[in-house]
Amino acid sequence: MQPTLGLIYLTFRELWAKKVVLGLFLISSLLLVMVAFALNLDVVDGSLAGLRLFGQAPGTMEGLSLEKLVFGVEAAVAGAAYWLGILLALFATAPLIVSMLERGHIDLLLSKPMSRSTLFLSHVAGVWAAVAVLTVYLLGGVWAIMSIKTGVWNGSFLISIGLVVVMFGVMYSTVALMGVWTESTALALIVSYGLIFASLVLAGHEAIVAELGLVGSTAFNVLYHILPNFAEVTTMVANLSRAEPVSSWYPLTSSVLFGLVAYALATWQFVRRDF
């Protein structure tokens, strides 16, 4: 356990030294301060009686219930954390794999009494843990502030924190695999951003498959099932933030399977290669 904890600590420190992570932390803090102090709500008998943002009242509050407002704010923050947060987190963490493989650094790590798979997976765990801390800080903070201010406790919103962290983990598996394979941060980011872009197209697979021939539709279906469904999981995050039921967990399941396979391949490549 000791080597794993040492590596997780080292990864935390390396990430903290990156300006992007510091930026994410500052933006999150700013948002929390905004939600805490700039959003003033007048709640009377459990209903929204008044709303002011930076001291200004909105033009109309017709049809806006307290629950709708809370769910709306939480969904907006979760959506931003999911898309913007994951894209920035991938950008911040991608160089870590390649820098770990640098000559002089990897030699030293491999000379320690731990297996290669432990070394690699501990590094990955360190990255996950750092991103999880940031996500819990932002989304957990927003949830706590909104709940205390309004008395509306949206428990299902907390599940979306898990979804953001898991989907970051899924997309980081591509970065890890490409990083170990090619030692190129740029290529690792291009492939993982490419998969996110492809997931936007794959999200419309039902309509697209209907327009394609047998070969095309089969190929499209295969891609839909084997690649991560990053865009479709957005709907799940939004549903959970609004305390609505999730119609299908399949996009998450297939994405997690993709991540597991990518991590297994990355670990296999890390274990077998020379440095």
């Binding site: 000379s111 320690k112 009494p113 077998r272 020379d274 440095f275």
Partner: protein, 315 residues
């Protein structure tokens, strides 16, 4: 007790290129055994395979054939590195950490318990002369300081076997002396030290035995004193030789003009085919009232020996 390092028929072939594959035979059947407690120097020209051999022993590179063990445990098992410390030639330490934090993290990775780390870190920083820099960030360290903190890192787990790749490279003479003193202290403590270096004068000062690698093979191995001894030639320090010595004696003794000798004495080079012959010569000198101060085998420098071994013979 098993050998600290044991290598048998070790081979490593690097393959690269997809369309025009090229192969490099970095190690070609290397055999080596190193007893615990020895200070061993691995020498060789660039590309001889020294770094590959060290990397195989540390599990950084995987052998193509043959076996290697550290204290009897195969190097493919990470437990073999439990008692090992390593300072690579081109190391990259996390620049954002202080010296104390860096030693703590690497100690943790080396499975050193927290309570041991707490006492070991100040002790090691003191030994490498960096006590005052404990809270300074690694990124601000000079090359020599990096080398010394790197050595402290390699010693965090109190290793029984220490691998050092060019340990005094880039270190000023004072720092080099400090490292050398530390290595001598470790040797006296019973640590097995495996040094990979180009600085032959440094190796000569610390190591008891060396091996020379060339083109992926170990071409020579043995104690430095044995390897550098010139066969059946001796250095004699004595009083002036009388003129009435037999001509045969004069022919076998030549003055060493570039060597200084104590006042009233001179240095001579003596050639002798056998021990009996040498003793007869000494008897003749003594019979002519020559007083002998010292007689010892002539030695070459390790550098001269190394160049003889690795240089191709003249056509």
């Amino acid at each position: 007790m098993p050998d600290a390092v044991s290598v048998d028929g070790l081979e490593k072939t690097y393959r690269s290129g997809l369309f025009r594959p090229t192969t490099v035979h970095a190690l070609q059947g290397v055999d080596l055994a190193l007893e615990p407690g020895r200070v061993f120097g691995l020498l060789g020209p660039n590309g001889a395979g020294k770094t590959t051999l060290v990397k195989v022993l540390l599990g950084i590179v995987q052998a193509s054939a043959g076996t290697a063990t550290l204290f009897g445990t195969p190097v493919t098992d990470h437990q073999a590195r439990q008692r090992v410390g390593y300072l690579p030639e081109k190391h990259t330490f996390p620049e954002l950490l202080t010296a104390r934090q860096m030693l703590d993290v690497y100690g943790q990775m080396g499975r050193v318990p927290a309570e041991h780390r707490a006492t070991r870190i100040p002790d090691l920083l003191d030994k490498v002369g960096l006590s005052a820099q404990a809270e300074r960030k690694i990124g601000t360290f000079s090359k020599g300081m990096l080398q010394r903190v790197g050595l402290a890192q390699a010693l965090m787990n109190s290793p029984d076997l220490l691998f050092l790749d060019e340990p005094t490279d880039g270190v000023d003479p004072v720092g080099r002396r400090a490292i050398r003193d530390l290595l001598v202290w470790l040797r006296d403590e019973g640590t097995t030290i495996f040094i990979n270096s180009h600085l032959l004068s440094e190796v000569e000062k610390v190591c008891g035995e060396v091996a020379i690698m060339n083109e992926g093979q170990l071409v020579k191995q043995g104690a430095i004193s044995e390897l550098t001894a010139v066969e059946r030639e001796y250095r004699l320090v004595c009083t002036a030789l009388p003129d009435d010595l037999p001509e045969a004696v004069h022919q076998r003794i030549t003055p060493l003009d570039n060597e200084t000798a104590p006042e009233g004495l001179r240095s001579w080079r003596v050639a002798s085919d056998t021990r009996t012959d040498l003793n007869a010569l000494i008897d003749t000198l003594r019979a002519h009232d020559v007083e002998i101060e010292a007689i010892d085998p002539v030695r070459r420098s390790l550098e001269d020996y190394f160049i003889d071994v690795v240089s191709p013979p003249a056509a």
